[in-house]
């Protein structure tokens, strides 16, 4: 139930009008590994930062889900952050944004 409500909240916050199915548990495991290991190459495996900025909840405070979503989809021109839109689905990215903001991402 809590997860269901959080899911609804996530969808409302990201401004997505169509309900997007959450990634499957196996996909969530892959995405968590991607976040910690691959994103972690620049942002640190504890997400406390490196060549890229920290992604811990305190560092993301005040950033909107839409801003994070666009950053992941389009990358950040002028920085090494590449666009992930072609590699990850909308549902993947929404889920990543959610666990980052909820502080459930760091190992």
């Amino acid at each position: 139930m809590v997860r269901f409500l959080a899911g609804i909240a996530g969808i409302l916050l990201t401004g997505v009008t169509l309900a997007i199915a959450s990634p499957s548990p196996e996909r969530q495991k892959e995405l968590r590994n991607l976040l910690i290991q691959d994103c972690g190459s620049c942002h640190g495996m504890t997400l406390k930062g490196g060549l890229g900025p920290p992604l811990v909840p305190e560092a993301l405070a005040g950033k909107s889900p839409e801003f994070l979503r666009r950053t992941i989809v389009e990358g950040r021109p002028g920085t090494p952050m590449p666009p992930w839109g072609g590699l990850l689905s909308d549902a993947d990215i929404d889920w990543l944004v959610k666990i980052l903001l909820d502080g459930e991402a760091a190992p």
Partner: protein, 389 residues
């Protein structure tokens, strides 16, 4: 007779149990286990894992240098940890947390100093190699209220360290030849966002890769007075600024007698350049965005691994014909490759399959496989005697 032999065997086993066998360390090395903050200690003669050392902190993007006697590994962790690991006892000898966030390190020509390049606070800190006591602190230039991140730190002949400043676009030389207070030479406006550096195996040229623009910055350490010049103007992401899913590493750049092999940035190609003129000679189409492009020590082959999502593959290029001669699948998320000093075997880590595979570089046969947790960088002690490693 049999009984006498058994007695001899028993006695020698008993002797082994109390006195560890003497051994050298020239065939040893370490493998970073990034998720568990540990390293595996390996040897390449029997191709075995000898032990494990844990308690090394955040080892994402960790790197290692070795003491000149090849007994100690200095492990540089992401969390600013600097750990001296004794390969013979498989124990932590000393450990300091020297900054908040670091990216790599180097050992001085005489083996007396360890330098660490830091993101936060940006700069280089130098330590006594024996005690890890602080020797010198070199804060980086500031931009706004922050200090620049430091990348691409290498050792250079005549007791120097060379490194690049990512945010302020500089290359610095820190010269420790006169003692523990370094003489700093600064080169400004070398290009936008240098993200890594390498020194040629002879220790003469320092080359920084630029993320923010095309081309490479080259410093001739025989003639620093001539300043930094730009080479390979077209090297980089190009006008369209291709996205890069893993920053190519420069340290592994393959150098053969006439050619250097470079990972092209953002493209599925390896660039071949003339080592003397630094002009492009050829482009080789490969499986994905190359990350490490490493030459077998004799220069006959170049092995290439790739960025996400095409990172389950390694390709081998014959440097004579410039053709791909083999495509291997060592496992999911291939992160690093390390050749034995004479190149008969290569160790390859596949992070997401928790596996290290040892290949015969002539037959491509698998010689050994080891299950290790999230293996990344592989470092053999022969690095102790190579400039820039």
């Amino acid at each position: 007779m049999t009984r006498a032999w058994l007695l001899v065997l028993w006695l020698s086993l008993a002797a082994c149990a109390t006195t560890p066998a003497l051994r050298g360390t020239g065939d040893m090395g370490v493998i970073i286990e990034r998720a568990t903050g540990s390293v595996a200690i390996i040897e390449t003669t029997g191709r075995s894992v000898l032990g494990q050392v844990s308690g090394l902190g955040d080892l994402s993007h960790a790197s290692v240098v070795f003491s000149r006697d090849e007994r100690y590994a200095y492990v540089f962790g992401r969390d600013g940890g600097l750990t001296r690991v004794d390969l013979l006892t498989a124990k932590i000898d000393r450990r300091v947390l020297q900054s908040g966030n670091s990216i790599g390190g180097a050992i001085s020509q005489d083996g007396r100093l360890i330098a660490v390049s830091n993101y936060t606070p940006g700069g280089v800190r130098v330590f006594d190699a024996k005690t890890l006591a602080p020797v010198a602190d070199i804060p980086a230039s500031t931009f706004g209220d922050k200090r620049s991140k430091v990348v691409g730190l290498v050792d250079a002949p005549e007791q120097r360290f060379v490194f690049s400043l990512y945010d302020t676009g500089e290359i610095w030389i820190a010269d420790f030849s006169a003692g523990n207070t370094p003489r700093i030479t600064r080169f400004r406006d070398i290009g936008k966002q240098p993200y890594d550096g390498l020194i040629t195996p002879d220790g003469r040229y320092y080359i920084a890769g630029l993320f923010g623009e095309d081309g490479l910055a080259l410093l001739d350490l025989w003639h620093p007075e001539k300043g930094v010049r730009r080479i390979l103007e077209d090297y980089g992401r190009g006008r369209k600024k291709m996205p890069v899913y893993k920053m190519p590493h420069l340290e592994g750049w393959a150098m053969t007698e006439n050619h250097a092999f470079l990972p092209e940035v953002g493209r599925h190609r390896v660039l071949v350049v003339d080592r003397h003129t630094w002009k492009p000679v050829a482009h080789i189409d490969v499986h994905g965005q190359p990350v490490f492009v490493m030459a077998r020590p004799d220069g006959r082959q170049v092995w290439v691994n790739f960025a996400y999502p095409r990172n389950d593959t390694v390709q081998v290029i014959d440097t004579d014909s410039l053709k791909i001669v083999n495509t291997l699948k060592p496992g999911k998320a291939v992160l690093h490759m390390e050749f034995t000093p004479r190149g008969e075997q290569v160790w390859i880590s596949a992070r997401d399959d928790n596996r290290v595979t040892v290949y015969d570089t002539r037959t491509f046969a698998i010689l050994a496989r080891h299950s290790l947790p999230k293996p990344s960088g592989i470092f053999l002690t022969a690095r102790a005697h190579r400039i820039g490693l």
